[in-house]
Amino acid sequence: MAVAAKILRSELDQKAWDAVCDVPDPEVPVLTIEDLGVLRDVHVRADGSVEVTITPTYTGCPAMSMFAFDIEAALLSAGFERVDVKTVLTPAWTTDWLTEKAREKLRVYGIAPPNGKASRRALFGEEQVRCPKCNSANTSRISEFGSTACKALYRCNDCSEPFDYFKCI
């Protein structure tokens, strides 16, 4: 799996991980925090409290506080009593961490998954993106910024479908 999540330390850690890994992205509910690679580490401390480490997709991502809230709720209902959610920036999140399964889930949901590997393209040029509905490569970009920080707006020139593209970063 491309997600570089840490190797879990114990059965209890695993139980806590299982309780939070299915927390969905509030903006893209087909993806979980595990699919996204936002969930980095789950550790149950000696005093029974749980430390969860997450990383933002974009620095200003407003979903982060929602993630923290949902993670806490999931752990409390799994029987844990205290939860600390910690945010780290390193290593920087990249769409390269999205698994094949996650990419397919996005496509079925109607969002074009990120294209290949993250690149360093500062000026000019346009990415070729396939339409998630009809798979045509004849698409055009409407805007590099979409309904959330992680998406861009595209249109299919063949089936006319407007769609979101999960930006490659």
Partner: protein, 251 residues
């Protein structure tokens, strides 16, 4: 000295991001079309993210218990150390685009270089900010070209913006004791070390946009010392209103 310098350095960067994001936020509901409205506020959101990280880190360095809100909303105009460029008004769309372009053309190589900083916090933020700045630069550069190479009206407007804002670009390359002491420790970036990259981007885009690079002349300065244009107070007033009226209010 180092901690004071690092605090000041982080506060400058935080103020740049916070003030520019507030300026961009003014476009919400007012941009030329829906997609552009979303684009400008997306950029604003990234900048808020950078500002929050930097204010929080600065507060930790200072060690006096000031958090991101205290640092952003409970300081007066003279205590803000942002570049004069970022506080310049949204007189028209061309000004907003040119301001963004001149700033992003600097910030993109800046964050790229900062990824090698010996300060782990700054290097970590840089690795994220560099990716975001890539989009900000590309978006604003494309607009500069579209407007410059567009109609006579759009060309004139973006040219006016360029000529007006040019005198605020010198400040980005200033290197005082705060910066040089941190450059010596390989924490900060010597702005002159990325000047050639800024020049290259600016020249390439201006040529494509049929715009002439203004001749080098006197540059405005003062932002890093808290000496601002009249505009900053008018930005802070609505920005700080809620926290001033209800200190410690939580979202």
């Amino acid at each position: 000295m180092t901690d004071t310098a690092l605090f000041t350095y982080c506060m400058r960067l935080a103020d740049d991001s916070a003030i520019l994001s507030q300026r961009l936020g003014e476009w919400c509901g007012h941009a030329s079309h829906l997609e552009e409205d979303i684009a400008l506020t997306n950029i604003a959101l990234d900048l808020i993210g950078h500002a929050r990280e930097l204010y929080t880190y600065a507060g930790q360095i200072e060690g006096k218990g000031r958090d991101e809100d205290a640092l952003c909303f409970h300081r007066v105009e003279r205590e803000f150390n942002n570049l004069l460029l970022v506080e310049q008004p949204n007189d028209d769309f061309a000004y907003a685009i040119m301001r963004q372009f001149l700033f992003s053309a600097f910030m993109h190589p800046f964050w790229e270089a900062m990824m090698n900083s010996k300060d782990e916090q700054l290097a970590g933020l840089a690795a994220k900010a560099e990716k975001e700045a890539t989009y900000h630069l590309r978006h604003s550069a494309e607009w500069v070209i579209r407007l410059g190479d567009g109609t006579e009206e759009s060309h004139n407007r973006i040219n006016n913006a360029l000529e007006f804002l040019w005198m605020y670009t010198g400040e980005m390359f200033e290197c005082d004791e705060v910066v040089s002491s941190l450059v010596a420790k390989e924490v900060a970036i010597d702005p002159m070390s990325i000047k050639h990259l800024w020049d290259e981007t600016v020249n390439t885009v201006l040529v494509r946009a049929n715009l002439e690079r203004p001749t080098e002349s006197w540059m405005q300065t003062g932002g890093r010392k808290g000496e601002h244009s009249e505009h900053l107070g008018h930005i802070l007033s609505p920005m700080q209103y809620l926290q001033r009226s209800f200190p410690q209010a939580q979202w």
